[in-house]
Subunit: 283 residues, 2 copies
């Protein structure tokens, strides 16, 4: 596996790879790779001739009070894991490489899809994501790009961006990878102290309970939301940002009585650490 | 030459063309093709294996009081001219094909480059241009894309967009094509009545005078601007929107004493028709 730090070098490699007629899989990450990322890289490697993993903590998707500086950076570990999972290139550019101009060129998906859920408290987040992912798409020119279902809203936003701007690629969304006790794998889990780590398991438990209720026939969206909210609130260390349901794919308002596919998503703080998790309720 | 009206059909043709290892030239137009466009198509045909001309009056780059409905549509003529110049495909989609979602995904180049000149009176114009051209780039996947120097600011904005978002292609900017008396070819020239048409020649005359002064050694930007302004004002039917100079490539403020490459650009109304023209002052 090759560690690539400049745009020019990546462009050269991609040009040669395309010329050789190889298919390309891209796994965009912010580094601090864990088993969730590993599953994406493994899938990319299985489904494509050439796998590029990007490893870039993207400043434009962090708000001014968010954890940009604290975000874990583990490049050496990331290289090892990406190589083990079959990556051909790990692309780890500097912010200056990715943002060459003083003024920005933004890519922005508008509408409810970026305003609800995390978009409400993180108003610039998805503009930063759409912008950096557009750059990565144009650099890596992938046939398929891999994202985790853990960031459910991000996956929907990027699918919409690909549809609207006609990017010639397929977005593959892979299932959430969880710890043994159910906590969704996240680079931010390292922020949790011991008590918060134990408490955080309530998210997956509450969502699993809603899924079980749904599968047993509960179709009242308000009741499903209440069930999750009340269960999370039994955990004293939890501080709910949202527990919400939206229709897929465009995150339009939930039906009162669920008949179509819905996303049930939560964002909850434990101390200063904000965690997200979700399930899809499929008719 | 094939007339293509759907995104799906264009995607199929592009996929086959890329697979065959052919290079692709793209000429994005709003139709109403004239000799200026013809020169772009001719260049694309000469420099690439396969030439795609798009013919789409893009609604998102027109302001609410602008000439979207009046804009000339001449599809039959466009097909004939594009074919004569060597185009392989004329892509003439409906607005619904190009904008499939209710909400927009925008591409926007920010900073002075889109705020000066036409950006001041047409605040949403370049966002619409950047968005539709991004879509066309992703659809046609060109090696080279062709634009006219007549729309000088548009060319600079798109070069910046390509640089910032890493589109894997080259922007080729071709010289202004003029009528025998000097008027720059434009699809909007058909709006001019006979008196306005005669009056409009003052633009190219004034710019040519500034160029001659520059070549004779005049380096004072204020004097060069005044020279153009005063000459245009001798024409009673003219109504100046702007006469301005900016440094290339990013349209930063002009130097007081010119040492680098500058754009000297004008926008002037004749009746209700707004015309633009420009020259580059090259050191």
């Amino acid at each position: 596996m090759k560690l690539v730090k400049t745009v020019a070098e990546l462009q050269k490699i991609v040009k040669e790879t395309k010329k050789a007629g190889k298919s390309i899989g891209l796994v965009p990450t912010m580094g601090a790779l864990h088993e969730g990322h590993a599953s994406l890289i493994k899938a990319a490697h299985a489904e494509n001739d050439f796998t590029i993993v990007s490893d870039f903590v993207n400043p434009t998707q962090f708000g001014p009070t968010e954890d940009l500086d604290a975000y874990p950076r583990t490049l050496e570990h990331d290289c090892k894991l990406a190589e083990e999972m079959g990556a051909d290139v790990l692309f780890a550019p500097s912010p200056k490489e990715m943002y060459p101009s003083r003024d920005m060129t933004w890519v922005e998906v508008t509408g409810d899809i970026t305003k609800v859920l995390c978009g409400r408290t993180r108003p610039i987040h998805f503009r930063g994501v759409a912008t950096v992912v557009s750059k990565l798409f144009n650099l890596a020119q992938p046939d398929k790009a891999y994202f985790g279902q853990k960031d459910a809203q991000q996956a929907q936003v990027l699918k919409r961006m690909v549809k609207d701007l006609f990017f010639p690629l397929e977005i593959r969304v892979m299932p959430i990878v969880r710890e043994a006790d159910g906590l969704a794998k996240s680079s931010r889990n390292v922020y949790l102290n011991k008590a918060e780590r134990s408490a955080a398991v309530i998210l997956s438990k509450a969502l699993a309970k809603a899924k079980a209720a749904f599968e047993a026939g509960e179709r009242d969206s308000a009741k499903l939301i209440a069930l999750v909210t009340e269960m999370i609130q039994t955990e004293p260390l939890s501080n709910i940002d949202y527990v919400e349901m939206y229709q897929l794919p465009d995150l339009t308002p939930a039906e009162k009585t669920v008949t179509a596919d819905h996303l049930l998503a939560v964002a909850v703080k434990f101390g200063t650490t904000r965690l997200i998790d979700n399930i899809i309720l499929q008719k």
